[in-house]
Symmetry: C2
Subunit: 213 residues, 2 copies
DNA sequence: GCGGGCATCGCATGAACATGCGATGCAGGA
DNA sequence: TCCTGCATCGCATGTTCATGCGATGCCCGC
């Protein structure tokens, strides 16, 4: 949308690779303005405050403090800074950790420079660019959770009570919320426990806890 | 990678929209072969087994059974079938539910047909196409989880107790596991509650529950 | 109209939990 | 040495849960 050039920095210790990217970004007519290359997380954290860019491309495997921690600290200082991971690694846990740390996107180094440039614009415009297989892994995270089970044949009322139990409400609150007596709540809870073969609220939350959050 | 045409179906009750897409996909030279349009989930579930496509584009808001359930059932019958959501809705919970149901990607109807065609190929090749803002919402799901916090200044012992509490163990079990008395466990739990400003095991699990799973 | 399923309410008991107060022994820093 | 933080143990009280047993009123299909 915004046609002005986008100021970015690279946090990357592989100098040849970084230089090549920088060169590409700074070609005449490019929408990207690569302002600096920082070879370490520490250097980036010192230099970035002097002239914050709009987007940072961050490698994960950095000397000293790794890219994940770097992103977490940058996001703490500049929540509006858009961080994209740019790495060779595509293991699940690295991807998830990076996203949790605050990364908005995750690109593999094998991505052609032109696509990286596109991704930077997408990210600046509020998107989350990801290499296709990375996206699939992220989506796979959701596939693993099997909560959409309308089975268990709970009655509507029982399901309501269950939901409130999961929210951590006391019987007293549940009774108030549903406008019934506390003993009625007890009865429903009992039925729920019977049907789900569990014996305590703790087990419920461990089984169903915090789903749609 | 595979240059052969990709057989797909549309599950979509907005007939004009579906017809227009079908027309576009079936233009000469297209990589997509749109074989059918099903106006309802029920119809799709009956017809698809007769001639399963590689990819299904599914609307969420369908008459009768909604698209989420449709995807869940299709994936159960044909785990290798690639389902892409194609909808106007972009609420968080719909996105997450769709992905949980088994969708591999999530596109908004405002996406240009050519990009939808690209997305179909990406999906067939193992990627997960998502409209940029959808991707950001998915990524936002990870941002919301704040697990990488080693803060809270819990002592090692308190952390141990906390972990066992989260596992759902009774004080008695915790005492046994740690080789201390139940009253000691009580003391530690109290300290943990104080430091984390909570008042019950339920709150703990709601806050920290099932993280690394 | 009778049997079932469901929602509602009640009582009772024992277990588990939350929390207030107090105490000892040990280590390491001021 | 004294102070502080930590881990340990103890007791007491009140609350919340889990669960067993029983009961009524409503609606629906056979």
């Amino acid at each position: 949308m915004n046609p002005s050039t986008i100021p970015i920095v690279l946090i990357e210790d592989n100098e040849p690779y970084a230089r090549a990217l920088e060169k590409f970004f700074n070609l005449p007519g490019s929408a990207i303005d690569c302002r600096a290359i920082y070879g370490s997380s520490e250097q980036a954290l010192v230099e970035i405050p002097k002239n914050p860019p709009a987007v940072a491309l961050v490698d994960i495997n950095l000397p000293g403090q790794n890219g994940m921690e770097c992103i977490a600290q940058l996001k703490e200082l500049y929540p509006q800074l858009v961080c994209l991971v740019l790495t060779m690694y595509e293991e699940d846990h690295l991807i998830f950790d990076a996203l949790r740390a605050g990364a908005c996107g995750y690109l593999l180094k094998r991505t052609p420079p032109a696509e990286i440039a596109d991704a930077i614009q997408v990210a600046r415009d509020g998107g989350s660019p990801m290499s296709p297989h990375i996206a699939r892994q992220v989506v796979g995270f959701f596939h693993r959770s099997p909560p959409p089970k309308p089975d268990h044949s709970l009655t509507a009322r029982e399901q309501q009570v269950l939901d409130l139990l999961i929210d951590g409400k006391a019987y007293k609150e549940i009774a108030h919320d549903l406008g019934v007596s506390i003993d009625t709540v007890r009865t429903h809870v009992r039925k729920v426990y019977d049907k789900l073969h569990i014996h305590s609220r703790t087990e419920i939350i461990l089984k169903f806890g915090k789903k749609g959050r």
